[in-house]
Symmetry: C2
Subunit: 288 residues, 2 copies
């Protein structure tokens, strides 16, 4: 039975780790749910219904706000490690024994931390527009990223046209369609992320990105089949970091889409759902 959709799933709440977590749960129940971990400054509403409802046909989808973000209480912690611990507490509070974890950008860092801290909880991992600890230009952030997040926009949503899409006509047109889809949910929208929360997220991002020797060794501990996805021209977290993830994870597949950026999943939603569903449904213990 498929219950609710992206547009009408009610925001629910669960208590864990002293946090009241806001979440939404919809789709075809009974299998391993897919838990979505959001990017910097994003709320549950920033997920693309073409992606979430695409998955919901075949599996249960769980969206949530991590601690201190939007509908969830508490403070944004200063490290991804603590964000991962909060996410684990949230997942366990729902009574779940095993999930598939998907993360976008900082959500991809959190998904890695969930897997490292609670390996039995995660069946398969999907990392989109993200990178490893100490990835390329991840200590300071990219110059493009600073420019894009530092600029002002006629309409605030237009920030996402530059974060998630390339400057090409085709990509920008896809971006405008995404912005429409992401505004479709009219009722019970998530509050925007506060400036304080965004600043705290930045602290955690810098801590994750800081340069350390042998920083990628930890990836060898992630044994789960992993699918790494990115756009060809991600200027927020450079695309090469997706290649680095693939090369250093023991069991990872990489897909890079053409003429696309940080939000490649929003540019090619049907194809993304198709590729990820193939990966999640495969009986092969190796990533595909």
């Amino acid at each position: 039975m498929i219950t609710h959709s992206h547009q009408n799933a009610p925001t629910q709440y669960v208590q864990a780790n002293g946090i009241r977590f806001g979440y939404r749960r919809f789709g075809k129940a009974g299998g391993v749910p897919l838990v979505f971990n959001m990017h910097f400054m994003g709320t549950m509403d920033h997920w693309d219904p073409a992606v979430t409802d695409g998955f919901a046909k075949e599996r249960e989808v769980i969206l949530f706000d991590n601690a201190g973000v939007s509908n969830s209480s508490g403070d944004v912690p200063g490290s991804v490690r603590e964000m991962g611990a909060n996410a684990i507490a949230f997942i366990k509070a729902l009574g779940l024994k095993q999930v598939d974890a998907l993360g976008l950008s900082i959500g991809g860092f959190v998904a890695q931390e969930i897997t490292l801290q609670a390996p039995d909880l995660v069946r398969r991992l999907v990392l989109v527009g993200t990178g490893p600890r100490s990835g390329e230009s991840m200590d300071t952030g990219t110059s493009e990223g600073k420019q894009i997040f530092g600029a002002t926009y006629e309409h605030p949503d237009n920030l996402w046209l530059r974060v998630h899409f390339t400057p090409s006509e085709v990509s920008q047109a896809a971006g405008r369609k995404f912005l429409q889809r992401f505004r479709l949910r009219a009722k019970d929208r998530d509050p925007e992320v506060t400036e304080k929360a965004a600043l705290e997220q930045r602290t955690a991002i810098a801590e994750w990105g800081a340069k350390h020797e042998h920083a990628w060794d930890y990836l060898k501990e992630i044994k789960q089949p992993t699918l790494v996805v990115n756009g060809s021209d991600d200027v927020i977290i450079y695309t090469i970091n997706s290649y680095i993830l693939q090369q250093n994870l023991p069991n990872a597949q990489l897909i890079i889409y053409p003429d696309s950026a940080h939000g490649s999943l929003y540019q090619y939603p049907e194809l993304f759902v198709d590729h990820v569903s193939t990966f999640l449904s495969s009986a092969d213990p190796w990533a595909p």
Copy 2:
């Protein structure tokens, strides 16, 4: 109507450019055929029936020996450019106006040359285990490649276990299954490639790989939607070259499979057919 299969398609001949080309043609006719370009020292028999027959369900498959190789007359030319010209002559001699081109390793170089020299002839391009002109370690060849091709093997077929698969147990087991499949065709097998032909292929490979400034600029001329595929650990043409192809081609998607090498399509034949079919069937003018 599906006519013949990998195992029983007769070897046919067509004359072009002064060459008598050996080829086989099978599968579902009526659409755009998929033309396979073979690797160093390979004949039509070296293609995996799990791949070719997988495609043949939905499209016509054309295998051929390029000039001087196995069943085809003439000499192997000393440059990939001439190999491309020969391949174009062959395709046109069949009366075809448009094809999809797939190339593995040196066959991927040839597929690029076909596309550069006859852009109207090629609808979509699939490049597997290959790289650009002047790619990384493509001038001298890799140290692993020299070791692997220089060694002797108890059974000559075992060379391909080292060329196409990683040393892991899982990959080697997949390799042994591939060797069985590639020996299934009992009658009308292609003659092995002669030492002379292999030496000439090496000359062309070295010419293609030679270091030049701005060597990757030519990739911008390949406007066709392209799918680049490789294994995570290709030691014949390093995997990074697949990333370089994706980053420099204007319209390319990249897929890298885990724990796999030069012959990733032989390790994951069903998945490869699935990914490539999705790509070839897509109505999107962008690669996916």
